[in-house]
């Protein structure tokens, strides 16, 4: 996983609440057995019309948002299924940061496993960014270490991410590798459980 320490990028807005993972990546695209190549299907039913042509009304299709790497969205982003194809698609499309007033639990967690940082800001701050992101070329800079977001023109905010996850992001750590360092503790736990008779 690529470490994420500091990131500057163009901001796209998706002013909708409760965006579910079925929307982020419709299920007909879940059938691949690889992790890559999902970006082309991101928000498929919104980005494309039924005949396959581009839907110019959908926010992300507006030319000013092409190449954006920071997404600002409404509350409860990523609700629904546990499919990790959702963060894979966002990442593959180019997003590394998602800012929203709240996220669904499983999605939030899945983001970190893929080097995407979900940032929770207040509703007022998100509303503010929604406004600002209307201007073409609006950019933000995110500092993962100091947990700040700024646009370099006076707009500054802070966020918090628990230390464990922040550390994984900063170092781009392989979580399984980390866990395997606790192999002795796991083995000990298993021994204890099984000798106690495995009721619990």
């Amino acid at each position: 996983m690529e470490p994420l320490v500091r990131h500057r990028g163009k901001v796209a807005r998706l002013n909708r609440v409760n965006v579910d993972t079925d929307q982020i990546i419709p299920k007909q695209f879940l059938k691949r057995v690889e992790r890559s190549g999902f970006g082309q299907f991101l928000f498929y039913d919104w980005r494309f019309r039924p005949d396959g042509s581009i839907n110019p009304e959908f926010e992300l299709n507006q030319p000013q948002y092409s190449g954006a790497s920071i997404l600002v969205a409404g509350a409860n982003f990523g609700c629904g299924s546990s499919r990790e194809h959702a963060p894979w698609a966002l990442l593959d499309y180019g997003f590394r940061i998602i800012i929203a007033p709240s996220f669904a639990d499983i999605f939030y967690n899945n983001c970190f496993k893929n080097g995407i940082l979900p940032i929770v800001l207040s509703q007022a701050e998100v509303d503010d960014l929604m406004e600002k992101a209307l201007a073409p070329g609006y950019e933000l800079e995110v500092d993962v270490e100091r947990q700040t977001v700024t646009d370099g023109h006076g707009w500054v905010s802070t966020f918090s991410v628990d230390e464990f996850r922040r550390n994984m992001l900063l170092k781009g750590l392989d979580e399984i590798g980390l866990t395997l360092q606790y192999e002795a503790a796991i083995a000990e736990y298993e021994r204890k459980r099984e000798s106690l008779q495995p009721v619990l």
Partner: protein, 480 residues
Amino acid sequence: MPSSRGNTKMPKTLFEKIWDAHVVTQPDGGPALLYIDLHLVHEVTSPQAFEGLRLTGRSVRRPDRTFATMDHNVPTDNPFDVKDPIAAKQITTLAENCREFGIPLAGLDSPDQGIVHVIGPELGLTLPGKTVVCGDSHTSTHGAFGALAFGIGTSEVEHVLATQCLWQKRPQTLQLDLQGTRAPGVTAKDVILGVIAQHGVSFGTGYVIEFTGPVVRAMSMEERMTLCNMVIEGGARAGLVGPDETTFAYVRGRRYAPADSEFDRYVEAWKALNTDEGATYDRVIQFDVSDLEPQVTWGTNPAMCVGVNGTVPDPSQYDNEVERKAVEQALQYMGLKPGTPIQDIEIHHVFIGSCTNSRIEDLRVAAEVVRDRKVAPGVRALVVPGSKRVKEQAEAEGLHEVFKSAGFEWRESGCSMCLAMNPDTVPAGERCASTSNRNFEGRQGRGARTHLVSPAMAAAAAIAGRFVDVRKLMTSYQTS
């Protein structure tokens, strides 16, 4: 037993007892390394995880605590005729992965095959006090047994395969106390839809929900599974019901359940799992079911829901602009006008199935409504049992004949029309009364319009060709 092993006498909730018993280590006050007792695997969210193991030369730590099946992609008219080459690839990939890593698999030809959340309980894999995970958000279903069960992403699937553990931040607890008496014809599905309609699609975010109160105590295991299945639609990763005699009676004698000779010893331990007198939750919600009607969703998330005698809402009644816009968008997608009575909405498809409502009891209730009646002209109606065993049982009871003679299609087990990943889909612009759990845009097919209901309500809709209050159709309900 953790409750007596702990050196303090602090009263604990069911959740706390299970959690505490599974913490392997918790370095520096960070997340806990939680031990996983049961890992269920299916074909859609696992291939990248196994690939990850291969790339890093890792193996599966406990194949004996892992169990796989195929459900999402399976064609329910003929499971062996997978026409979509990519679906076929996922199915064969799972079979190969299970062979390579020594994982037991209920494959397409196994009598154990079925929807992952139906077969776990059915086989006695799901037991009180266990931690259960699966790469699927409806893993919450298993919480009905007093197991801590939650959905995970594919990276975590790989992590559990390799280590049998997960790093987890301790969630908060929410007590959902169900009080009152359900009116006849009001099912567990209506209760959970009613709760979500009132509290929204994210009230449970960050919480494990424990259902308490006389309503849940009186519920069967099937009903409790329906409740817990849908807590994720309220944002909670896990739901719990304290184990009791209903639980033990369901579990006893199942293949992977403790043998009869030791069963009583287990029951004693399971009873002690229940929340102690005086234990507290981070949040408490009281919900009275007494006035609840059978529910029907009108929009594009499960909270957009109203009683069957209600009407489609008017966006102009919402003060909050974002909410108003969401309702407008939903009505546009659903092709509905504000103020339309729910019972005027005509449907073209009926789906009775999914991990929410495809168990034997669901099929019995639906069959009771359908018996000696006919599916309305122009309606396509499907019954898809949740597992091969459910199908067998239903056939032994003659339910398939009831459905078939009414004009329903009687299918093989699988996820089917719950999500458009197999040939069972709803065409764009058409309306489906569905017993599944999600009515998101496109869930049953691009442009498909899903209305979530109970099995009884779906059956009634099939007969009437529109939504009706099932209570008017059921003589047994009228007299009881």
